[in-house]
């Protein structure tokens, strides 16, 4: 008995501690990241009457962003959601509501994707929505380059607690082109009318497993 106890103590002392879960970071080329972003921004769907109701929302009155039979381009903005086009279409077919906002609270009867879910998904994170704008640094670093001239498609602009967008390129006038899951647009969009001042106090992020295009 004493020997067993001693063995147990030795095992406890020399066993490596349980390490925290390491983030999964599949390698993605910049072209792959941008192709996914474009696919989510170009996904077309139709809002049916059943997709305008969210019975699970009790914190506030659920008012749909969409009208009956609207043909929409871009996956709906859904706070806390991270649905890809297939999951989104499947949920709509299951009579879930198209999209929600933070004022509706956490829901399990709405479909779509939010800003951090969108960037995470483009970076290969799936199927669960593990990162918010406050925690996405676990899979992305802070680049040292000149942000106004050297960002590359597939990098992100983040403001923890507020919003994150995926950088797509520079316009001729120097302003950024971004893809984003936008609450005000109610969907994933390519935004080519923003200016830098909209991103005041944001900072760029570089996905840790990004692969430079050949």
């Amino acid at each position: 008995m004493r020997r067993i106890f001693l063995l147990y103590c030795v095992a406890v002392i020399f066993m490596p501690p349980a390490s925290p879960r390491q983030p999964q970071m599949p390698a993605r080329t910049r072209d792959e990241i941008m192709a996914i972003a474009e696919r989510l921004a170009q996904h077309r769907w139709i809002c049916r009457e059943v997709n305008r109701r969210a019975p699970c929302v009790t914190a506030a009155v659920y008012e749909s962003d969409w009208s009956v039979n609207d043909t929409v381009t871009g996956i709906a903005y859904d706070w806390g959601g991270m649905d890809d086009p297939e999951a989104f279409d499947r949920k709509l077919a299951q009579r879930q509501a198209a999209g929600s906002h933070s004022r509706h609270g956490i829901t399990n009867c709405t479909a779509g994707i939010d800003c951090s879910g969108f960037v995470s998904y483009c970076w290969g994170q799936r199927p669960t929505h593990d990162y918010s704008t406050s925690t996405i640094r676990a899979i992305a670093g802070r680049p040292k380059y000149n942000w106004y001239t050297k960002m590359k498609p597939g990098d992100a602009l983040n403001k923890p607690g507020d919003h994150i967008v995926l950088f797509a390129g520079y316009r001729a006038d120097g302003n950024p082109i971004v893809y984003e899951a936008s609450g005000s647009a109610g969907r994933v969009i390519r935004n080519d009318w923003s200016t830098w001042s909209r991103f005041k106090n944001y900072y760029p992020l570089l996905y840790k497993s990004v692969v430079e295009n050949r």
């Binding site: 001729a172 006038d173 923003s194 909209r198 900072y203």
Partner: protein
């Protein structure tokens, strides 16, 4: 003799110091007239609630509360009307709201969709962009729907302005009444910041061109100042505005409008929608 030589050297150094430009100043704007904020129009806003529609004061605009990981929503587009009044989008109430030049409510159009941009056309028609569909929707001067069309993806957005490097840019101007044809070169020089964008805000009836440029300072986050410059038809820099606040609660889509030499900025805040006005006229 030695003293005289020393005096000459000292004099030479003094002349050098006096003659050298201040490296921190934007060299291209040293003698340019600075225009300060002339007027502020405040229009009340309130948070969206479930019972807002019933009995709401029609002059009050609507915003949402800031959520974790979600930007607030609210008015993003505005237009300055020929009489100095304003049209402001109220996307959460799916309407366009009209005010006089002092911010007093005049009328509302129940347009039935969430607009994020509005432009007044010469005939009194209003062109709005549906934020949800991206469609461009046209209304006549009485608020009657005329047509809808899909917006063309603007891959050439910003094409009329080109940033050449962090000190220079070019505005490609079309020939208009009173304006000089050809390019307007925009120079920016500063040791503490770099020019990161420029936009052509428009040309007024006198041929003056209004240019918004953004200058970034070195920082661990994006740190931007916005400057608006007014150039004469002969490309002379006439004046500039540097006291432009950027603390938006809701980031605007239509941020600036120019009318009769006045620059207007839409600045949606949590409890009011502010329109800042700078008078650039001499």
């Amino acid at each position: 003799m030695a003293n005289k030589k020393l005096l000459e050297v000292l004099l030479f150094i003094c002349l050098l110091i006096i003659g050298c430009p201040n490296k921190n100043a934007d060299n291209s704007t040293q003698t340019v007239r600075a225009v300060s904020l002339s007027r502020v129009v405040k229009i009340p806003a309130q948070f969206l609630t479930s019972d807002l529609a019933a009995g709401q004061n029609p002059g009050v605009l609507t915003v949402t509360r800031k959520g974790e990981d979600e930007l607030p929503q609210g008015p993003e587009g505005f237009e300055v009307l020929p009489d100095g009044g304003f049209a402001i989008t109220d996307p959460l109430q799916r309407r366009l709201v009209f005010y006089d030049s002092l911010g007093n409510f005049r009328a509302e159009w129940p347009i039935g969709f969430a607009a994020n941009s509005v432009t007044a056309l010469p005939g009194g028609e209003m062109e709005l962009r549906d934020a949800k569909s991206g469609e461009i929707v046209l209304f006549d001067a009485a608020g009657q729907h005329l047509s809808s069309r899909a917006a063309v993806r603007s891959r050439g957005a910003g094409a009329e302005a080109r940033l050449l490097d962090l000190n220079r840019g070019v505005i490609a101007r079309q020939r208009t009444r009173g304006s000089a044809p050809g390019d307007l070169q925009v120079d920016f020089a500063s040791d503490s910041s770099q020019m990161v964008s420029l936009q052509n805000l428009g040309v007024d009836a006198g041929g003056n061109t209004y240019v918004a440029l953004e200058a970034a300072r070195g920082s661990d986050v994006i740190d931007i100042d916005k400057i608006i410059r007014k150039y004469a038809a002969d490309n002379t820099l006439l004046c500039q505005i540097t006291d432009i606040p950027l603390d938006y609660y809701v980031p605007p889509v239509n941020e600036f409008r120019i009318r009769a030499g006045q620059v207007y900025q839409l600045l949606p805040q949590e409890k009011e929608v502010i329109i800042n006005v700078w008078n650039t006229n001499p």
